[in-house]
């Protein structure tokens, strides 16, 4: 604050503060408060708004638990509301995406942080960033083309003899998983890269010197050091995946349902913003609970992540 004052003087500093306050208040806090308030009111024709039917209730939230269908979970038939089922599906596949992303990102991050010579590092970073110059919509479409039944991926796999039958990639959640991993992998790579980069190379060598094979060095020395980076990467990838609308919409199949699509249906197709808002907040709260639970299980502190 003092620093800002000294560098830009009182007028500019005041302008910065006002702009930031405006941004926070008008574009973040107010819309959220409005939505939050709306989520407790019923969806009514315009003439009834403010009338006797317009009162606060949890009815919108209650819709989440309506419409039970029998669902097969680990061989047991359990009646489950359809939206709850979609929610758990979204959580499950987002977790899967996070795990796959970690498996892909960790070796890459280690390679960048400790193996590559510092001279070729800028080139490699550039190569990683180039795809980001293309819009997310186009990239998802590109995957839709790549993964098509008669698309290039199947052609290559058949041509090289790895497969003898084309695979229907855009089926169930497959293409969504591939698309999400691709879209968010860098959000995992960079926090882990930063964490591993800060590890003293002598520690890796000390472990080796004491006779440790590579996998134990990773397990006992590098992974524990990288844990905060892994945690922040995982939280980001999970939240972004669960909240993604574009990828499930473009790469989804008739059998895949993402919770954001349900919210979209309420808001755009049913024009029921009140229920849509209720679902949004429910989703946010439940995802936050889930993330906190996982962090607690893995003994990660919030301050570790902020580092």
């Amino acid at each position: 604050m003092d620093d800002l004052l000294r560098r830009y003087g009182p007028t500019l500093t005041g302008a910065f503060m006002l702009l930031t306050a405006f941004w926070l208040l008008m574009l973040v806090i107010l819309p959220n408060i409005t939505l939050f308030e709306a989520s407790f009111r019923p969806y009514l024709p315009v003439v009834d708004v403010g009338g006797p039917k317009d009162f606060y209730s949890f009815n919108n939230y209650g819709k989440f638990f309506a419409n039970s269908t029998d669902t097969d979970i680990f061989g047991m038939n359990i009646p489950l509301p359809i939206h709850v089922k979609i929610f758990f599906g979204t959580i499950y596949y987002s977790t899967l995406v996070t795990v796959i992303t970690f498996v892909v990102a960790y070796p890459l991050a280690f390679y960048l942080a400790k193996v590559v010579s510092p001279k070729s590092l800028p080139t490699l970073f550039l190569l990683l960033f180039v795809p980001l110059w293309v819009s997310e919509v186009l990239r998802s479409f590109a995957w839709w083309i790549i993964l098509a039944l008669k698309g290039p991926l199947n052609a290559i796999l058949l041509g090289t003899g790895i497969l003898d039958q084309p695979v229907r990639w855009i089926m169930g959640y497959r293409a969504i998983i591939i698309g999400l991993v691709y879209t968010y992998v860098l959000f995992m790579v960079f926090p882990i890269y930063n964490a591993i980069q800060s590890l003293d190379t002598n520690q890796i060598e000390a472990a080796q010197d004491l006779g440790s094979p590579w996998w134990r060095t990773h397990l006992r020395v590098i992974l524990p050091h990288a844990k905060p980076g892994i945690a922040s990467g995982s939280v980001m990838v999970f939240m972004l995946s669960a909240g993604s609308l574009l990828v499930p919409a473009l790469l989804g199949s008739p059998t895949s349902l993402w919770f954001t699509q349900t919210i979209q249906q309420w808001m755009l197709e049913s024009q029921d913003w009140n229920t849509g808002a209720a679902y949004s907040f429910l989703f946010l709260i439940l995802c936050t609970c889930f993330v906190s639970l996982v962090m607690w299980v893995f003994k990660v502190q919030l301050t570790d992540i902020a580092k």
């Binding site: 003293d200 002598n202 520690q203 060598e205 000390a206 472990a207 080796q208 010197d209 004491l210 006779g211 440790s212 094979p213 134990r216 006992r220 020395v221 524990p224 050091h225």
Partner: protein, 360 residues
């Protein structure tokens, strides 16, 4: 179990830069051997080649008569103590110490017992459950030693392990390290740029400069009979005279300089840039001219160093000279501006060539 190490014409190049240049040395089992040299002379590179983190560009490294070519660091019977110790900050002390045993599949209770035993050996009992950040510099040092000893290496490699400690602790740890080495009988290869440390601790010292091993000898010989000017200057102070060698007889030579003609020991008259070196403590101060090798001089400064007194003077011919007097009351202490004679015995002075330089 300790093992000897042979370095046979070992070189190490980084691009076109030769960091280690044709090093030949044979270190005996159970020996305390030091590499001594200024920063950047290639000491760490030698240690990294012995432990397997850097491959020699040419030459052979043998540990216990076994060629180490192609052996990974985790396959060699060496344990390296890093310059910054590289303890694992996320493990408690006992896990740090027993990490090498964990790697070898030793059970937890046995590991714990071994860690406690080693902590007693390095005089740090009761620290098993502390974290690295809770220890002082000297205590971390001991943990690093215990961690290296835990894998029962045949060779311990120590890279300037005491450089981060303060003077008192450093002197204490010198004795401690020496004692641990004697107790365990492990071959120690010790790296330092501190000549006092190398001379006080080692069985033998290898003095290095510019990637070249200049001399290998026991500490007394290194100090009393340096093989060249670099060694003489690096391990102590000297009065130095440039000149030319005259007649040689029985290992003694005449040496003509701008400050007069002297007589001194000589081993070789070949080698470039022969100079005469004599230590300040072997330079005698007297009010009469000496029988030989004597210069009339004027005292320019007298510095009281505690256990000795250092007398700086300039000869009438313009040479700067230094002499040391013991602070035991046996000799009169001169004062600045006093005229006197400085001389030295021919047996105490050596005619030496310059040190070996890179690429020679």
């Amino acid at each position: 179990m300790s093992a000897g190490i042979d370095l046979d014409n070992v070189c190490c190049d980084f691009g076109s830069f030769r960091a280690v240049d044709h090093v030949n040395v044979s270190i005996k089992p159970g020996e305390f051997f030091s590499f001594l040299g200024p920063s950047g002379c290639g000491k760490t590179t030698i240690l990294r080649m012995i432990s397997g983190f850097t491959d020699p560009s040419s030459g052979v490294i043998r540990i216990g008569d076994k060629d180490m070519k192609g052996q990974r660091p985790n396959q060699r019977p060496t344990a390296l103590i890093f310059q910054n110790l590289a303890l694992f900050p996320l493990m408690p002390i006992w896990e740090n110490i027993s990490f090498g045993l964990e790697v070898r599949g030793v059970g937890k209770t046995e590991r714990r017992a071994k860690a406690e035993e080693l902590l007693r050996l390095v005089d740090l009992p009761g620290a098993a459950d502390k974290m690295v950040s809770q220890l002082s510099g000297g205590q971390k040092q001991r943990v690093a030693i215990a961690r290296a000893l835990a894998v029962e290496p045949s060779v311990m490699l120590l890279d300037e392990p005491l450089s981060a400690l303060d003077l008192k602790l450093r002197q204490h740890m010198r004795a401690e390290l020496r004692a641990i080495q004697k107790r365990t009988g492990v071959t120690f290869i010790y790296i330092t740029h501190d000549q006092g440390e190398a001379l006080a601790m080692s069985d033998r010292v290898g003095v290095m400069s510019q990637g070249k091993l200049q001399q290998v000898a026991d500490p007394r010989d290194i100090y009393n009979n340096p093989s060249n000017g670099f060694v003489a200057s690096f391990v102590g102070e000297n009065n130095i005279f440039a000149g030319t060698v005259g007649a040689v007889a029985d290992g003694m030579a005449r040496f003509d300089t701008a400050h007069g003609t002297f007589r001194a020991r000589v081993n070789t008259t070949s080698g470039k840039d022969l100079k005469l070196y004599v230590r300040p403590e072997h330079t005698i101060i007297s009010s009469f001219p000496g029988a030989e090798n004597s210069l009339p001089a004027t005292v320019t400064d007298v510095a009281f160093e505690g256990n000795f007194i250092s007398v700086h003077a300039v000869s009438d011919s313009g040479a700067t000279l230094m002499a040391e007097l013991r602070n035991d009351g046996s000799s009169a202490i001169p004062v600045t501006g006093e005229k006197l004679h400085m001389s030295f015995a021919a047996e105490r002075a050596s005619i030496l060539p310059d040190g070996l330089t890179r690429g020679e």
